[in-house]
């Protein structure tokens, strides 16, 4: 039983860390702010969630409803809720500041609606 918990926990941790490193590579490689936000919001969420899930499995599996596990659960829920909002606010602010879409963008239906 303890082995199973260990394995699951380490598996979640590996997935989370792998996702976070991919997100950072994406942040460096993708062309403009909007595409970079794709990498950080989605992959960042799964990465942080995976790490916290690993803590949760470890804590709930070995010591029941411990404070550390509850904290990890709360932090995970907050990240799931706030990470898309920050992505939305950054992209909106970038657009209002006049950051253009990167070369190779084929469509901008927001252009006409933009007023500032």
């Amino acid at each position: 039983m303890v082995d199973l918990i260990e394995t699951l926990s380490i598996g979640c941790l590996l997935i989370g860390v792998l996702a976070l490193s991919l997100g950072m590579i994406g942040l460096l490689r993708l062309p403009d702010v909007y595409n970079r936000l794709h990498a950080t919001t989605k992959i960042g969420t799964l990465g942080a969630f995976g790490v916290l899930l690993s803590i949760m499995i470890q804590e709930f599996g070995t010591s029941g409803l411990s404070p550390m596990g509850v904290k990890a659960l709360t932090a995970g829920l907050f990240i799931l809720l706030t990470s898309p909002i920050s992505g939305h606010m950054i992209s909106r602010a970038a657009y209002k500041m006049g950051v253009d879409l990167c070369e190779g963008s084929i469509l901008d239906e927001y252009e006409g609606e933009r007023k500032d």
């Binding site: 909007y34 411990s66 709360t74 898309p84 909106r92 879409l101 963008s105 927001y110």
Partner: protein
């Protein structure tokens, strides 16, 4: 029942979850912090509004659980898709901003659909139109705008409408 009362009952519980233990001291501390934090924003969160709690919210809980699992599935799909793009030797993408009409009317429904769109494959909510009927969505692959609209309407909006409207 005023929204203020519900907020002040909920915030101590949130504080207990953040600190990890439910004790009398934590509940009391949470109440103090809740009042101090929420009172300056009482206009923003419309704390003086009178709301009548009904059973409808409770009846939606199974739908909310389904929505949560759909969301998790979509997040994993989104990560695989973005990871594939990132590890390509040469990044070849055709991004663009697409108008997406939405059917949700309530504020919480719109928030839910916008957040869901951001967490799902290849799309990121940028803004909402003034009349709250259209979202502007940045897609990492905008070669098929109608396909993006259809997939949002059929795969995501259905669950959000059931869970939050």
């Amino acid at each position: 029942m005023k929204r203020r009362l519900i907020t002040y009952m909920a915030l101590p519980l949130v504080w207990c979850m953040v600190s990890g233990q439910i004790t009398i001291g934590n509940l009391f501390l949470g109440l103090i912090f809740g009042v101090v934090v929420a009172e300056p924003f009482s206009k923003l969160y419309r704390l003086d509004e009178v709301v009548t709690p009904n059973g409808y919210w409770l009846a939606q809980i199974p739908k909310k659980i389904i929505y949560f699992f759909v969301l998790l599935k979509e997040i994993i799909k989104a990560n695989i898709m973005v990871a594939k793009i990132i590890i390509q030797p040469k990044i070849d993408i055709k991004p663009g901003i697409i108008k997406v009409p939405i059917r949700t009317k309530t504020n919480i429904g719109i928030t839910a659909i916008a957040n869901t769109i951001t967490l799902t494959p290849g799309t990121l909510t940028v803004d909402i139109s003034d009349d709250k009927t259209t979202l502007f969505v940045h897609a990492i692959d905008a070669t098929d705008p109608q396909g993006v609209r259809d997939s949002i309407r059929d795969d995501l909006e259905k669950y959000v409408l059931e869970a939050f409207e």
